[in-house]
C-alpha cells in the first residue's frame, strides 16, 4: 500500500474507533448486565475447591485475575488469567478514588425506568430479541418488585403474552413452536401469581388475593373465543365490513394457547372467593366478591343477548332460552340480596347464575369454534385449489 493509501487507511481505522456507545446507553446496558449478574450468581462453590477452576487444572498463565484485583485469599476466578486488561488495576484505582462509582450509581438511579433498548421492548415471540425481553428485561424489573406489586406485574405480563399471541395470530405467524413457547410463558406467570395468592391467603389478606386473582382472570379477556369472536363480529358489523373466517381462526388459535392458563386463573379466582366465603361474615370482603360476581353475570348475560348468530343457539340446545331465563331470575334475586346487604347469600345466588351463563358460553364457544375451523379448512382448500389451477394454467 502506498503512502497516500496508508494514510487514508489509518485515518479510517482511527475514525472507526471513535464509534461507541453513548454514556446513557452504557449506563442502560450496564444496569441490565449488573442486575443479571446479581440474579445469576457464580455456581462454583467456594467451600469446594475441587469444583473451582485452579491454576493446576488449566493451561492458563500464572497471573491470577482475582489476586490482580487485590484479593489475597488465593481464590481463582473463572475468568482466566489473560482476561484482565493491563489497565485493570489503574481503572479500579480511579474507579474508587474519584468517586466514579458513586456518580455511576446516581446516574443509574436517574435512568431507572428508562428501560432497555427499544428493539427488545417491541420484540415478539420468534424474534431474536424476544428472550431478552422476557427473560432479562422483564425478569430484572420483576426482581425489583415485591408483594402485591410483583403480582400485579406478573398479571401485566400475562396480558402482554396474550396481546403478543393475538398480534402474531393476526399476522398469521403463530407456529406450533411459538404457540408452545407463549403457552409455557403464560403458565409460568400464572404459577408465580398463584404462589403470591397462596401467601396472601396465608396472611389472611383475602380481599387482596381476590382482587389480584380477578385481575388475572380479566387479563385473558378478549382472548377467549366467545368474547373475542363476538367483539370482532360486532366491530365488523358496525364498520360495515365482512368478517373474514381466517381472522376468526386466528382468535381460535389464541384460545388454544391461553386455555390452560386461563383455566388456572379461573380456579385461582374461585379459590379466593371460597376463602372469603369460608369466613362466613357479611363484611367488606364478602361485599367485594358479591359485587364483582354481579358485574360478571351482568356482562355474561349481555354477551349472550348480543350473540351475533341466533342460529348458533338452536344448534346448541333447544332449551337455551329457558336456561337464560333461569339465569336472569337468579341474577335479579342476587341483585335484591345485594341491596339488602346479604352479601354471602347474594354471592351464592349470583354464582349459580354465573355457572349457568358460563356453561352456555362454553357451549356456544365450542360450536363456534367448530364452525370456524370447518369454514377455515374449506377456505384454505379452495385457496389451494385456486393456486393449483393457476399454476397448471401457467
Amino acid at each position: 500500500m502506498d503512502k497516500d493509501n496508508k494514510d487514508i487507511f489509518y485515518k479510517i481505522i482511527e475514525k472507526s474507533k471513535e464509534i461507541g456507545l453513548t454514556e446513557r446507553e452504557k449506563i442502560s446496558l450496564f444496569k441490565v448486565v449488573d442486575a443479571y449478574v446479581e440474579k445469576n450468581p457464580i455456581q462454583i462453590l467456594e467451600a469446594n475447591p475441587a469444583t473451582a477452576p485452579s491454576k493446576s487444572r488449566g493451561k492458563i498463565g500464572a497471573t491470577d485475575p482475582v489476586k490482580a484485583a487485590g484479593d489475597t485469599d488465593g481464590a481463582v476466578g473463572p475468568l482466566g488469567a489473560s482476561v484482565v486488561s493491563p489497565f485493570f488495576g489503574s481503572f479500579m484505582a480511579h474507579w474508587n478514588m474519584y468517586g466514579v462509582r458513586a456518580g455511576m450509581a446516581m446516574l443509574i438511579l436517574f435512568f431507572i425506568g428508562s428501560g432497555t433498548s427499544l428493539a427488545a421492548k417491541n420484540s415478539l415471540p420468534g424474534d431474536f430479541l424476544y428472550p431478552i425481553r422476557v427473560n432479562v428485561n422483564e425478569e430484572v424489573k420483576a426482581a425489583f418488585l415485591s408483594g402485591p406489586e410483583r403480582s400485579e406485574y406478573e398479571v401485566k405480563r400475562v396480558k402482554s403474552r396474550v396481546e403478543e399471541a393475538k398480534t402474531l395470530a393476526e399476522q398469521n405467524q403463530l407456529t406450533e413452536e411459538i404457540k408452545n413457547k407463549i403457552s409455557v410463558q403464560l403458565n409460568t406467570h400464572v404459577v408465580k401469581v398463584k404462589k403470591d395468592l397462596a401467601e396472601l391467603n396465608r396472611k389472611g389478606e383475602f380481599k387482596s388475593a381476590f382482587e389480584i386473582s380477578r385481575d388475572l382472570e380479566e387479563s385473558f379477556d378478549g382472548a377467549t373465543i366467545d368474547t373475542a369472536v363476538a367483539k370482532k363480529l360486532n366491530e365488523d358489523e358496525q364498520d360495515g365490513e365482512n368478517t373474514e373466517i381466517k381472522e376468526l381462526a386466528a382468535i381460535e388459535d389464541v384460545r388454544d394457547i391461553v386455555a390452560e392458563s386461563y383455566e388456572a386463573s379461573v380456579a385461582a379466582r374461585q379459590n379466593a372467593e371460597n376463602q372469603i366465603l369460608a369466613q362466613d361474615t357479611d363484611d367488606d370482603d364478602a361485599q367485594t366478591i358479591a359485587t364483582a360476581k354481579y358485574e360478571t353475570v351482568k356482562k355474561s348475560l349481555d354477551l349472550i343477548d348480543k350473540a351475533p348468530s341466533a342460529a348458533v343457539y338452536g344448534l346448541i340446545d333447544s332449551n337455551l332460552n329457558e336456561r337464560v331465563k333461569v339465569a336472569r331470575g337468579l341474577f335479579e334475586k342476587g341483585e335484591e340480596m345485594l341491596e339488602a346487604e346479604e352479601y354471602n347469600n347474594a354471592f351464592l345466588v349470583l354464582n349459580e347464575a354465573y355457572t349457568i351463563t358460563l356453561l352456555i358460553q362454553q357451549e356456544m364457544d365450542i360450536k363456534r369454534s367448530e364452525e370456524i375451523r370447518d369454514a377455515n379448512n374449506v377456505e384454505q382448500l379452495e385457496q389451494t385449489k385456486l393456486e393449483e389451477n393457476l399454476s397448471s394454467e401457467q
Binding site: M1, D4, N5, I8, F9, K11, I13, K15, S16, K17, E18, I19, G20, L21, T22, E25, K26, L29, F30, V32, V33, D34, V37, E38, N40, P41, I42, Q43, I44, E46, T51, A52, P53, G58, K59, I60, P65, V66, A69, D71, A75, G77, P78, L79, G80, S82, V83, V84, S85, F87, F88, M92, L118, A119, A120, D127, F128, L129, I132, V136
Partner: protein, 170 residues
C-alpha cells in the same frame, strides 16, 4: 469471592462494551440491534463463566460470542445490507460534543470496513480497529493463524484496490 468475580466481570464489561458494540454495529448496521447483541454477548459470557468454565482469553471469547450471536441473527432475518446503509446513512449516536464532521467520518469509516468482503473483514477489523493479535483472531474465527495472516495481507490488498477505485489513489 463471588463479589470479586462479579466486580471483575462488571469491570470487564466497562472495558469492552464499546468494542463489542462497535463490532456488532459494523456487522449488523443497526444501532438498536447492535446494542441488544452486545448486551446478550455479555450475559452469555457471564452464564458461561458463572458455571466455573475457564475462559483462556476473555477478549477473544467476547468477540467469538458476539460473532456467533450475529450469525444466529443473520440466519433468522436478512439484515439490511451495508450498501444500503452507506447510501442512506445510519444512526451512530455520537456524543453531542463531537463535531458533525467527526460523526460523518466515523460512521463512514466503520461502514467502509464493514463493506470489505466478508472473508477479510473480521481479520482486518479485529487486528487494526480492536488490536487483537493474529492468534486471538484465529481463535475467534476458528481459522489457523496462517490463514488469518494471509487474510490480513489479502484484505489490505483488497482495500488498496477499493481505495484506488473510489479515490483514484494508488
Amino acid at each position: 469471592m463471588d463479589t470479586d468475580f462479579k466486580q471483575q466481570f462488571l469491570d470487564i464489561y466497562k472495558q469492552n462494551a464499546d468494542a463489542i458494540f462497535r463490532y456488532c454495529l459494523m456487522r449488523v448496521s443497526d444501532r438498536e440491534l447492535a446494542k441488544d447483541i452486545a448486551q446478550e454477548t455479555f450475559l452469555k459470557v457471564w452464564q458461561y463463566a458463572s458455571k466455573g468454565e475457564k475462559i483462556a482469553n476473555l477478549r477473544a471469547f467476547l468477540f467469538t460470542t458476539a460473532k456467533n450471536l450475529i450469525i444466529d441473527q443473520y440466519r433468522k432475518k436478512k439484515l439490511t445490507s451495508l450498501d444500503n446503509m452507506m447510501e442512506q446513512g445510519f444512526d451512530v449516536g455520537v456524543e453531542i460534543d463531537q463535531s458533525l464532521f467527526d460523526k460523518i467520518d466515523g460512521q463512514r469509516a466503520l461502514a467502509f470496513i464493514g463493506s470489505i468482503p466478508e472473508k477479510y473483514r473480521d481479520a482486518i477489523y479485529m487486528q487494526y480497529v480492536e488490536g487483537l493479535s493474529v492468534k486471538e483472531i484465529a481463535e475467534v474465527t476458528g481459522e489457523t493463524e496462517n490463514n488469518i495472516s494471509v487474510r490480513i495481507h489479502r484484505g489490505l490488498q483488497k482495500l488498496r484496490s477499493i481505495l484506488r477505485e473510489q479515490n483514484g489513489y494508488g
